[in-house]
Subunit: 347 residues, 2 copies
DNA sequence: ATGAAAGCGCTAACAT
DNA sequence: ATGTTAGCGCTTTCAT
């Protein structure tokens, strides 16, 4: 093998399908079938091609394949950031499932910016993705137009809305937040505060605020704007948020945080302020991160099945490409995890 | 515009370069130049093409472009997981810089498995990536062969080794771990323990262990195997690790953790065991995660400039493609962040 | 079951 | 400065 004593062994371009075909003594069509429909080849043909492929270290040329098949076997994903374990799990599950089914994942970040999201969408279309996972259901209308006009499969994730015209896989953030608030209402809390994530351009963040409001209103209570502070998802911001809320009068006895990272900060700041959790103050979050069960007194939170969503998104997108009929909206289960950070309202 | 009352408006395939060319009354070459070398067009030509592009909503076909240019404008990255904020920052910086320079990011996960990493490498090659970011310097030899034979640019990251034959951007994990150990030695500690990350197939994890050993040996001390426990990077595992170490005699007064997540668990478990930090026990980690400065008493840790590495990796790879001469190894600065979790050895 | 050959939608010589 | 046209490396009819 490699018997050609040519002058520049490293510079020769790598083997193409024609090289394989001629080495195996078959046509290029047969080599193509070897990869795409092996069962249509006679065993001996298959063996010959297989040997040639191995000998040459042949790897198909994806771009040529995509051009010819009008299918890139790439799935795109646009997410705000990756620096959140829940989302990381979703992306990991997405890429794993895509890989299992022969698809690659092209990742783009929107940084919670709808304009940037649209731009990234264009980039991914240019990259030729066959399907695209989005986060949330709030996007520039042009994004939907773009995708639909080009017949690119897509799915909104981490939101569930059976009435949406667009496919979605996730859960109802608003109802989920209501459940969390009800838990606290049942514990006797009447003075609520909320450390929300930035709501602009983020329907999950605003839905969570609205959900808490829903629950309070259903019991004749209200959560005025001054009881809501908005902070980026960072621990230090959770601390600031709690400090701000505790400076209002009357002070809240229950604080719901937009996610566990903010709750982490709130928990630490409560301790720094000398408030006992849950004796003086109950705190809850969303995500059920790794440490939520470990950090005393344990964080009450909503466990969001992120990797399930990622995997389902991959399946949904890839199935769409084969023309399978699929449900427009899929709801995944969110569990309320009760831990030590929430308790009866102080007397 | 769109004056053709045909029967299936949504089904018509999207505009190609020829459509743009004929609408603008120019050749396809001119349209191509409009995108790739706009300055070579006369202003009025540019305007005509621009209008046609807008009117048709034309987006270049990446696969066709890649096939023709022999360049996909895609960068691949294979990382173990994304569920770590430091790595998330690296990936975010990588994708951002790639995007700025007209490249897309194809992401693959290796799950700390060298065989899977090699497989993912093949997948990415098939996807046609022009360059590839790897994590660490320990890979299947076949991976290097594959990449070099095909002339794909690549770079090992989060490691620094000027003697390596392969390009790398990062820091010397071994030396960095030594610095951390020296800090504790200077505080008078003599009994060390280590909660390492899984070392199999992970040079960063094993280098950190070796670095701690180096520092101890330099002072005539030793760290026997039974003072090292190995745990996956999760909070609960950090707790288990500390419990295991504290069951040995003599007990360590200083525990160095493979990363901040493990250190988090160690911190919590120390508290659960009634040990005061740093009074009875000093704990340190790697990464300087978001909460490290917030969680009392503050975690002493090494701050790794992850996003700097991600950005430099993007620049290195893309610059390589243009034939720019580049340094083979780049070292980034790691800072020792002193906080409350480390203090003088108990008397 | 296998082969021959016509594209897929661009880019880049080369020509003007 | 702009146009003509031959590929890029596959897949997929259509023959056989």
């Amino acid at each position: 093998m490699d018997g050609d004593p040519s002058l520049q062994p490293p510079a020769r371009r790598s083997a193409g399908i024609r090289d394989v075909a001629s080495l195996a003594g078959v046509s290029t069509a047969t080599v193509s079938r070897f990869f795409n429909e092996p069962s249509s080849l006679r065993p001996d043909m298959r063996r010959r091609v297989d040997n040639a492929v191995r000998e040459l270290g042949y790897i198909r040329h994806g771009a040529a394949r995509a051009l010819s098949m009008r299918r890139s076997h790439a799935i795109g994903a646009i997410i705000p950031t990756v620096d959140n374990a829940t989302r990381a799990n979703k992306v990991a599950a997405l890429q794993k499932r895509c890989r299992e089914r022969g698809y690659n994942l092209v990742l783009a970040l929107s940084e919670y910016d709808l304009d940037l999201e649209l731009q990234q969408c264009r980039n991914l279309i240019e990259a030729g993705i066959d399907g695209m996972m989005l986060e949330g259901g709030l996007h520039d209308p042009a994004l939907y137009t773009l995708l639909e006009k080009r017949g690119i499969a897509f799915v909104n994730t981490s939101v569930y809305d059976p009435l949406s015209p667009y496919p979605n896989i996730g859960f109802d953030n608003r109802a989920t937040a209501s459940r969390l608030a009800e838990h606290l209402l049942d514990l006797g809390h009447r003075e609520f505060g909320m450390i929300a994530g930035p709501r602009r351009g983020n329907d999950r963040a605003s839905d969570r605020v609205n959900g808490v409001r829903d629950a309070l209103r259903a019991r004749g209570l209200d959560m005025p704007d001054e009881r809501i502070v908005e902070h980026p998802y960072r621990v230090i911001e959770g601390r600031k948020g709690l400090r701000a809320l505790m400076s209002r009068r009357p002070q809240p006895t229950a604080v719901i945080c937009g996610n566990d990272v903010l709750a982490f900060g709130a928990l630490i700041e409560a301790q720094a302020l000398g408030r006992r959790v849950p004796g003086d103050l109950s705190i809850a979050g969303f995500d059920d991160l790794d440490w939520a069960s470990q950090l005393p007194p344990g964080l009450t939170t909503m466990a969001l099945p992120a990797s399930e969503v990622g995997q389902m998104a991959a399946d949904f997108l890839i199935d769409s490409l084969t023309g399978t009929a699929l449900p427009r909206a899929v709801e995944v289960e969110v569990k309320l995890i009760l831990r030590g950070s929430t308790g009866p309202a102080p007397a």
